[in-house]
Each structure stands twice: as C-alpha cells, then as structure tokens.
Symmetry: D2
Subunit: 323 residues, 4 copies
C-alpha cells in the first residue's frame, strides 16, 4: 500500500482544511503539491503538511508526483481544472458547486472519463443524513412525501447576495433532496418575504424556496444567512406513515405509527465510542499524549477497593502508593 | 514522514478494531505485525490490514519492523508484555485495565521508561467528555461537587460476575472521575440492591457504587450490565452554580443560573460537518465512490432555475439535458 | 358569587367536553340546559352534568335559567344561533369556525352587541402559544419574519376532503398567525404535492399552504390529516435574531444569539407543580381520594431516620409502628 | 349540587395559593372562612376570595359554615388542628409534613375517623408522576429496581438547615418512593459530601440520601437547596427491562428493549389541548376576554381564500371588509 499523492488546488478555508485532513487524519494519502494564487498562503499550507508549492493549478495537476487532485478553488475556475484532471486521467474531488452555471456543468458531464470526478457534497457522508436516507429507502415509514429544510448561517459578508444564496447555499439542499428522494427536481419557486433588517439593501434574506420533484413531491427550504445565531442545518422528512428529523442536536428523531417519538440508543460500545477510539489511536500515533501508567494504576487501585467493599459491605479506603 | 510501524497484540473485538482503524482510518501509521493465541484469528486480521503474523506476543514486540505496540490482550498478560515494550523502549498503547490488581500496576508505575505507556481510557478522547471536562475546569458553573454516573450494558455473558463488573466496567468510571475532577479517589462503598431477575445467581447486578475524592466530593455510579436495552453511558456533573450532563444523545446539556437549560449549536459548517468532510476524503482516497459529475450538474441546474425564479417571482422549470 | 348558568348547544365530542368541564372543573359556572338534535345524546350529557334537556337550540338560548351559551353545534348553524344570543344579550362562546363562509361571518361582525361573542380559538389559552406570543411581542429575539407550522392528524374520515382541511383545520393556523404576528393575512397560496396513498381519491392530503401578511411576513403550513402517527401541532417562529419552537414536547425551545439553544426550567415549585396542586384540590373537593394519614406518617418516619443518619453518619433503620 | 364550604387555615404562600385555587379554579367549592395568626394576611386573602376571617384556627374549624378544612399552617400546629377536624368529623386536606415527628404522626394514624385526612403529597396528582407510576405498575418495562431522584432548589433561607432539608424536602421523595414502588422504606443512609460554598456554615448542602425498601430496592436522592439555578425535580425509574425518567421538560421519556428512547405524542386534540380548552372556558366564565367576532371573521376569510387557491392553483388575495 503506497500512499496516494494528492495535489490540493486552492487553499482558502476549505482547501486548507482538506490538506490538513489528508496529512494528519487520513490513511493512505499524503499531500505532495499545493497551489494557490496567493503564494504566501500556498507556502504556509505546504509547510504545514510537508508538501511543495506549485506555481499554478495547471502545473499542480500535471505534476509527476500527483496521483489525484482536490479542487477547492473558486467555482469559475472549476471547468478548466476538472478538464485538465480528466485529460491526465487523475481522480478529482471537486468542491461544490461543480461549476457556476449549468451549461459548463453539462460540458463536464459529457467530457471523456467524467467518472473520475467526485463532487464535494459532503452531507452524503454525514452520519445523520445517511441514517435519514437509509430510513427513507427502507420503506419503514412509508413513501416520502415532503421535506422541510432549514439552512441558516449566523452571518454573511455583504457581497453574499440573493444569487449567491441560491448558487452556493441552496446547492446543498438541491443535492440533499436528490440524495434523500432519489429523483430529479423539475420546478423551483422562490418566495421572498420581508427581508431581515440584517440583510444588505436589495438582498432577499431570508427566502423560502419550493422544489417539486419528478413524482410530485414537495420540498420547502428556508434560506437565512444572517440569523445572528449559529450554523443550523435541519431536514425533516415526512412520509406516508411517519416522519423523521435530523439537525436538532439529537441524532435522528422519528415519529411513528402509534404516536411514539424518539431516537435510537447506541447498540454497543463501538457504536458509542468508535470515534473516541479512533481519535485516541490517531493521537497516540502522533505522539500527542494521553493517560499514562499512573492513571492506569490509580484506576486499578479504586476497582480493587470496590471489590473489597462488595465483599464486606463496608466503605473501603483506596490504597495508593506514592507517585 | 515515514509511517509508524505498529504491532497489534491480541485481536479479539477490540484489537481487530484497533488494527483496522490503524490501517484504514489513521494517518502516519500502518500495522506490520499481528499476534494472537488464535493463529486463525491472527491470520484473518493480518490479511485484512496487510500485515504478517507473529508466532507470539514476545516475537511481535521484539520485531525489527515494529516501532510501537498496541496491546489488546487479556489483562493478566499485560504486565509482562508492557515490560517487554519498555525494555525495548517502544511506545505502547495498553487497553484497560492496565493490569488486574494494583500491585502489578504499581510495578509498571515504577518500571524504567514507564512514560512510554498510554492506557486505553478512550473516553478522554470523546468529544462529550472533553467538553464536560473543559466546562468543569473553566469554573463557569462553579466548583464541581457531585457526579452521577450511569453505566449500562444491554447484556453480558453469565461469567461476567460482580468482580468483573467492578474490575472491567467500573474502571472507566474511576478514570472519568479522576479526569473530570482532577484528584484521587480515597474511598469506595459498594451498595447491592435486589438483583435483576436477568442476573445470574450470586451476581449483584445492578450495583450502586459511591466514590469519595480527596477533597470530599461524592460520585455515585449505577452499574447495570443486563438491562435488555442498549449501551448507555451517562455522566452528570453537579457544580456549585449549575450542572451539565452528557450521554443523553443531545451533546452537552447545561443547566445554569437563571434557570436556562440547553446546549450549544454549531458555530460554523466545519464544526457541524467536519467529520463528514473527513469521511468524504477518506472514502475518496479509498476509491469508495461518491456523488459524481451528474449530481454536480443536476444541482447546478436547480440553482439556476432558482435564480431565475427569484428574478421573475414565478415558478420556474428546471432544464436538465439528457443523461 | 352566584354561578353563571350555561346552556350547551350541541354535545358531540366538543360540546360534551365543554359541558363536563363546566360542571366538574370550572369555578363559578354550572350547566343548566343541554340541547342537541340527538335527544338521546342530549339526555346522556344532561344527566351527567345535572342539567335539563331543551327541545332545541332556540329554546335553550331563550331559557330563563340561562345566562350564557356555549355553541358547539355544526358551523352552518352558528349564524342563526349566535344572532339569537346577541338578540337576548347573553354572552356566547362559539366553537370555531365562526361560520362557514366570510359573508355570514361578516354579518356577525356587523350585528349589534357582537362584543358578546368569543370564538373558540383555544390555542390562545395554551401555555406554549402564550409563551411564544410573549416572546414574539417582547422583541427579545427581534422582529418576527417567518412561521413554520405543522398540523397533523393521525386519521380522518373519508368525507374530510381538501375543502374541509382548509375550512376546519387551517382555520386554527390562520388564527395562530394573526395571534402571534398581530396583523392580517393578505394572500394565500395552496400547493398540492403528490397525495399520500392514505388520502381518499381526489383529496389533496398533505398540502402546503403559504400565508403572506400585511407587512410581508411569510407563513408556511403543512396540513396532513392521515399520518397514521398522532396529533401533532407545531409552530416555529423565526425572528431577526433568533427562533423559537413549540410543540416538540419540550415546552418553548429557543435558539439565540451566540448559538445557545434550550428552554427555561421552572422558577419555583408553584410553576412546576401548580397544576398538580389544583388537581389535588379538585380531587379532594370531589371526594376522589388521595394519600391518607398512613402515607403522611410513613413519610415522617423516613425523614426521622434520615435526620438520625445525618447525625451519626450511619445507615439507620426506619421504625414503623403496626398499621 | 351545593358548593363545599371550605376553611383555609394558614395563608402563607401555600395557603393563599389553595384559597385562590378553590375560589377561582375549582368546581363545587368555595372558601367561607380564612384563619391566620397574621390578621392582616388573613384579611387580604379573605377579601380576595370573598370569605370572612376567623379569630383563630380553632374557631375556623368549628364554624357552622365550614364543611371541610385545608390546613396550610406550620407543621408543629398540625396535630392539634387535625384532631379538631376529626373530632368534628370534617374532611381535612393537611399540607405536608403531616406532623414534624413520627410519634405525633402515629397518634393521628390511631385517631378515630383518621380516614378523613388527606395529606398534601401533590406529586401524586402530577401528570408525569402518574404516568411514571402507571408504567411501573404495568410491568411493561419489568419490575422496578432503582430510583434516581434529584431535588434542587435555586436558593433557600439560611435557617433552612440539614434537618429541615431532611424533614421538609426529603419528605416528598419518601412519598414518591412509596407511591412509585408501592412498599415501605426500611433503612436510610445520609451521605454528606463537601458542602457548596453557598451553604451556610454547618449545613450539609448538597446531600445524597439512600433509601432501601422492604424488598431490597435502592433509591438515591440528591438534595441540593442552593444551586443558583432553578427548581428541579427529577425521578428516574430503572426497571428490569427498561428505564424511564420524568422532570427533564420532555414529559415521560422511556428507554426500552431494542434500544429505542423517546416519548409519546398526543393521541388527539383533547389530550394536547385539554388544559387550553379548560382555561378558555374558565376565562370566559370569569369574563376575562378572548378572541372576538372579528378574529372569527378574519380567519374564515383566510380559509375562503385558501379554498379558492386550492381550486385555481394560484396565489389568492384575502378579501376583508372594513372593520
């Protein structure tokens, strides 16, 4: 197993996050090349992840020591960069949106070897969205009829206008709809209520967007970019015999026949603590420290006192030797 | 950066989990050697993770191609194996309990180079426990006074008796107490109520255990191994000006001055979707598949119709070219 | 204080509920007359509440021993019956809808002494809706922008068609909107997604309804009459600096600046147990039984042992004399 | 049906609450006499509820216009006052504790006609405690094994010492234990951890109290009177095949076989809105105001527009005549 050598193109917030994830939290990959219009930014990220800096995206994509590319550049640059990846035949993980208009996106669909493209719809890898889709597909609560979606940001820069809300934020809900319902969206209606006083002049924030799917299902999406609160993403699926919601900080909650509502407890310790075990291992591999031998000893001494107390029925002192 | 070469000693449920985590979800490490009394089990895990099989633990620990050791063997084997690691000077991640009685555990404390030992108290790497500790240490809700702990398993094998409940399960709560309160436990009282009809004859299941700490704080622990329900681990911290609980499937919930209860929403998309981004990358590196170029195109086409609808105020059809 | 003498006109489910509430759970009132097209039903309810039966609604409204009228008859009968009440000058509590079309309802608005009419929008007396309105009016989370409403029934009779969904169920959401936002609704859009297979042919169940208010606020309402689940009524208020939701079985939950979510704990024992105290008193007055002197004694004996244990630090036996 | 004429003896917070509940929220009763050592306080309450003032408790209990007595006087006065009620043969609702020591409480148990005494353990009338008991008795989650109780107050006066915590607060948990488990408590152990800095010198606040029942069940109670937070009362029942908790602001939550956790949705509108209907009626009877004919009309006009929109598929304006 030799590591996949990855070029990261564009290291703003998202690209830098991907680069460090590849370097420090991902098995089987390392970052070899970093490219960014800002040479300074590229150098900083490259130094952190132990990669070299390419002069531009083109060079990074074409480099000999690159087996795969992560594209986190701005949307307008995607078409050319994806095509360069396809021409070389290297897999590319392209951040959303694929491109900024459907004509160019469709050219990528038609391009040779387009199966090498993966689009950065990361919600498909979120445990809650996966659980919701599994429930939808299972038929346990009947055929899906409606989705209620909420997409809220605490704040946005003034330049983030109505069009960007629809192109950059709504795009996630479009994919969630297609992912959960398994069919295409055929019509869209945007409704603009009175804007929040936090919205810049001329920006319709919040908006309500309705999707209609091929089979007549309906999706409503609240888009609200300046709530002053937090990042809130919520999806409720209403099906013929029940409903389920994610994004309320309580995992997947269902409402089912008979009037029961609730969630599922962890089946076992690996389900509950799997991520903690993985984090423990990763920290240990990285030499980041953790509970030591004294911690192990002290805990054993407590258990030994407990065994004694269970036997005698008495309060028992814990005997600890000097540290 | 060359990968840390790890030997995994003992590949029951826990060791096998660690081995696959090292191989497929951890940056900077690979499994080179696997050892287990069952040659068959060792071979199966070794094949999965691309490692070789050692004839026994001793050989695995001593191997040239081993830089570090994960010990997931039974507790009684730990002392000798840890000492072998220390003698060679390799870091060892030793599953809990460190050893099965305090005398041997203390010998490890006294052993040269014992700082190379990390004990597998994985809850210290759990996001909820970390958040609870951060809250405890911050002083935000005052000095901690009490902990209420619940440790429930849906089922246990008949041989898992009262002593094992105290040695294998309670050990986690002992460490959680020390981790959250930052001091030693000085006395233990075990109270045995009427046993559940699901408990084997002679086994006190459930039990209530009281810990007293050096500064007089009190911890109560419900240990219940045969609930028929699920794996439930819960810790409530009661402090001088508020309380907080984890393990209710709702993250960290606090109760504070003024009577407010609740939790914290995600500050941003990386906090909410960080694990999904990482899972996306890991799946992409592993070639496991994900949303493709058509998914990217379809989503862009929907957003384009949304932009049009926002402009016209009308319901707008989505135009999708043939797939 | 002499009791208000009330006639209950129409004793289907709702009228019978009102009659027993007046007789057994309301201070200052009694039911003197019951009227219903079904003589049998009228007689049964009258016997239960200690009232007499009137031959028809007209007689009930005109009776000498009637100071006020509860109208729980079908909507089409309301106009004439309300007018009869107003002509006599007696207060009338009229179940919703006031009438079945706006022309007749407006005639009641124009009728002399129409201030004697109270309409049965009981949600205005629900503690959760009152708390939500208080929050909306307080300005604590800024000006309201959106409402998301859900109105679900587990089942409905086949004759309950799209029109009845809009006339009988939606009417509550229309009033909730007016109550919470304090302004009129100026436009309505009904969207009909694919119907549930549980819906009779030709019935659009579920539906999504959009309200626009005079100041441009937007309300979406999911109406779903045949969920197979339960009775679910939920309202989320989205304001300029936070949101709040009721109907999730957790009281009023808010999401506020800084990213905190949660609710309010009871300030004191009267807030928490006020309804229990009232139920206790009502049961005692009705001679329905409750904890007796032995219960009082046994609890005191336990506390006495606790005082002793607190003094000695020892486990203390409870001494109970023979019963 | 003539009203029960009630004397309220002792009109501190609790007695005044009972007096107004009897006068304004209870069917079939009225307050005729009020007695209190403070003539001023007695006069104020009497004026509010339309009663007369008695010179002392003895006179109130003996009065001709008194059919029943509510005792909300201090505990030390209870024995004599209850005996006076029993001597006259009038029912008495006696606030907890029945008396302040078990000897006097037992004298009341032995007194003639002691079945006329009801003790003010109002939690037995709380919907959550009733639901929890019903679940315990039903056997649905198996035989009860443990109770975890929490009893917290935000603040207490300095004079409220350890003994009062055990006599006045713990008494509720003693009764809850007996009510939920249906058996006597045979032993008590009080454990005193480090006190909160909010506790007066010498007061053990918080405390942990253990109850053992006749059949060997175990109950732990956290008593904490000075949390600075709110009034929090919580009870978790752990049974052989599941657990259930009340007091988390989410009704009755259960954890059952298979790992499901959750609650029950309202079965119908009367279950959900019953208290709102009752409050509506009580407000109407009291002439307190509510939604009027214009509210009824406006809602009907909205529904009419909705019916039109459902028919045409178009956004429809609401037509409202002038007010």
């Amino acid at each position: 197993m030799t590591d996949l050598r990855v070029a990261v193109v564009g290291v703003g917030i998202m690209g830098a996050y991907h680069a460090t994830a590849l370097a420090f939290r991902t098995a089987g990959a390392r970052v070899t090349v970093v490219a960014d219009p800002s040479a300074e930014r590229a150098a900083a990220v490259a130094a952190t992840v132990g990669a070299r800096v390419a002069t531009d995206a083109r060079e990074a994509i074409a480099a000999d020591d690159v087996d795969a590319v992560v594209l986190a550049s701005p949307g307008p640059a995607h078409e050319e960069q994806v095509l360069a990846c396809l021409a070389r035949g290297v897999p590319v993980l392209c951040e959303k949106p694929l491109t900024t208009e459907s004509a160019s996106a469709y050219r990528l669909v038609r391009a040779p070897r387009s199966e090498l493209v993966q689009v950065g719809f990361m919600r498909r890898f979120d445990t809650e969205y996966r659980a919701l889709r599994e429930l939808a597909v299972s038929g346990e609560i009947g055929a899906p009829l409606l989705l209620h979606c909420v997409h809220r940001n605490p704040a946005q820069r003034p330049a983030f206008d109505s069009t960007m809300m629809l192109r950059d934020s709504l795009v996630h809900e479009a994919d969630v709809t297609r992912f959960l319902l398994g069919e295409e969206i055929v019509a869209v209606t945007v409704v603009r209520p009175r804007a929040s006083s936090a919205a810049p002049a001329g920006v319709s924030d919040p908006m309500l967007v309705l999707f209609e799917t091929a089979s007549g299902r309906l999706v409503d999406v609240e888009l609200f970019m300046r709530t002053g609160v937090a990042y809130e993403v919520r999806t409720e699926l209403v099906a013929e015999r029940g409903s389920a919601v994610i994004g309320l900080d309580q995992g997947l909650l269902t409402r089912r026949a008979g009037g029961a509502w609730g969630g599922a407890l962890s089946a076992d310790f690996l389900e509950r603590f799997g991520p903690a075990y993985d984090a423990e291992l990763q920290a240990w591999v990285a030499g980041a420290g953790g509970p030591g031998v004294w911690d192990g000893y002290a805990a054993v001494a407590v258990c030994e006192a407990a065994v004694e107390s269970e036997r005698t029925g008495e309060r028992t002192l814990v005997r600890l030797e000097p540290r």
